[in-house]
Symmetry: C2
Subunit: 196 residues, 2 copies
């Protein structure tokens, strides 16, 4: 940012992309999900905000990249949320299981979920990210009373599946097929979404 130091505004290069990622990671961990803007990350990295958009598209994309997510849970969920609410329980659960079961997409998510329980900065970041990208977006779409509470109930159930199947590896849920988990748990998820 200081011309004399030679660190003026940078133009695109693989190094620049990585520089932005590193600046974003620091910002997310120090400020939390909510406070970070594309603009503040651009300023930290000494690049134009257009370059941040060019590489990462959105704050969601930037966050996913800083966490090395091969599949971004916020984007995966948003795609499901666009479909029919009456089948969201089973569709969202199946897509979650597919992403977490695959080592390539699942491993970085598991690393974050595990570390977030003991690292306070990361925990806050996950709390705010899940709160905004999952709970709040879902609550907006749900009809009827208590949308926010029903969205939280849905999220709690999804978190429980992640925790028991992938983190704790509790049997029999850890070894059940995706179809079996969906059969057994999707009705409960859908009930939380619909309310009684």
């Amino acid at each position: 940012m200081n011309k004399k130091s030679g660190r003026g505004r940078r133009t695109g290069s693989p190094d620049t992309r990585d520089l932005i990622r590193q600046a974003a990671r620091k910002r997310f961990l120090s400020d939390g999900y909510q406070a970070v803007t594309m603009r503040s990350v651009a300023a930290d990295a000494g690049v134009d905000v257009a370059l941040v958009s060019y590489y990462f598209g959105s704050k969601q994309g930037l966050f996913g990249a800083t966490m090395s997510f091969a599949a971004n849970p916020a984007e995966v969920f948003q795609a499901q949320l666009a479909g029919d609410l009456a089948t969201l329980g089973s569709r969202a659960l199946r897509s979650l299981l597919t992403v977490w079961d695959d080592p390539e997409t699942g491993a970085p998510l598991l690393a974050v979920a595990t570390t977030a329980t003991v690292d306070q900065d990361l925990k806050r970041l996950v709390r705010e990210g899940v709160g905004q990208e999952i709970v709040a977006r879902l609550a907006e779409r749900l009809e009827g009373p208590n949308g926010s509470q029903r969205a939280a109930a849905f999220t709690a159930q999804m978190a429980g599946i992640i925790f028991t199947r992938y983190v704790l590896r509790l049997e029999p849920i850890a070894s059940m097929s995706i179809d079996d988990v969906v059969d057994i748990l999707a009705p409960a998820l859908q009930l939380a979404l619909d309310g009684r």
Copy 2:
């Protein structure tokens, strides 16, 4: 255990109780929940097995004491399990929330839940303990097909409530009253128990 060392079989005293607890903690962490017996802990502590029973009652009680649980989840759940299956969802959820909301009983549980995600020995211990004391006991009581899978689904949902309300402190579930959490989530828990 060696008479010459002066560490022969001990009789009861507060020190003896603590000695047994320490021996049990080591055993549980090295061997897992399943393999530990009252007898093996007695041998490690150099005391008669009757003394282990006298202080701790059962393996459940011994485990709870080694983890410094002021309320033992296995015992709390077993009390609920003795009641009507048709209302188990709301009763078990309410008792879980009551125990975890109270700092005295909740704090030691939260410490174990948090540490278990990153400590492999403790994770195995929690996995086996929950598997035997919650999933297996519940599966025994459930009627109809897929009892074990339905018990796992119930346990996953309970774990999700613990994870979001107490570990992650995700809103709004972290701040909801016990009554509201029960209203919103007990029907889904009961559905998992009943099957569709």
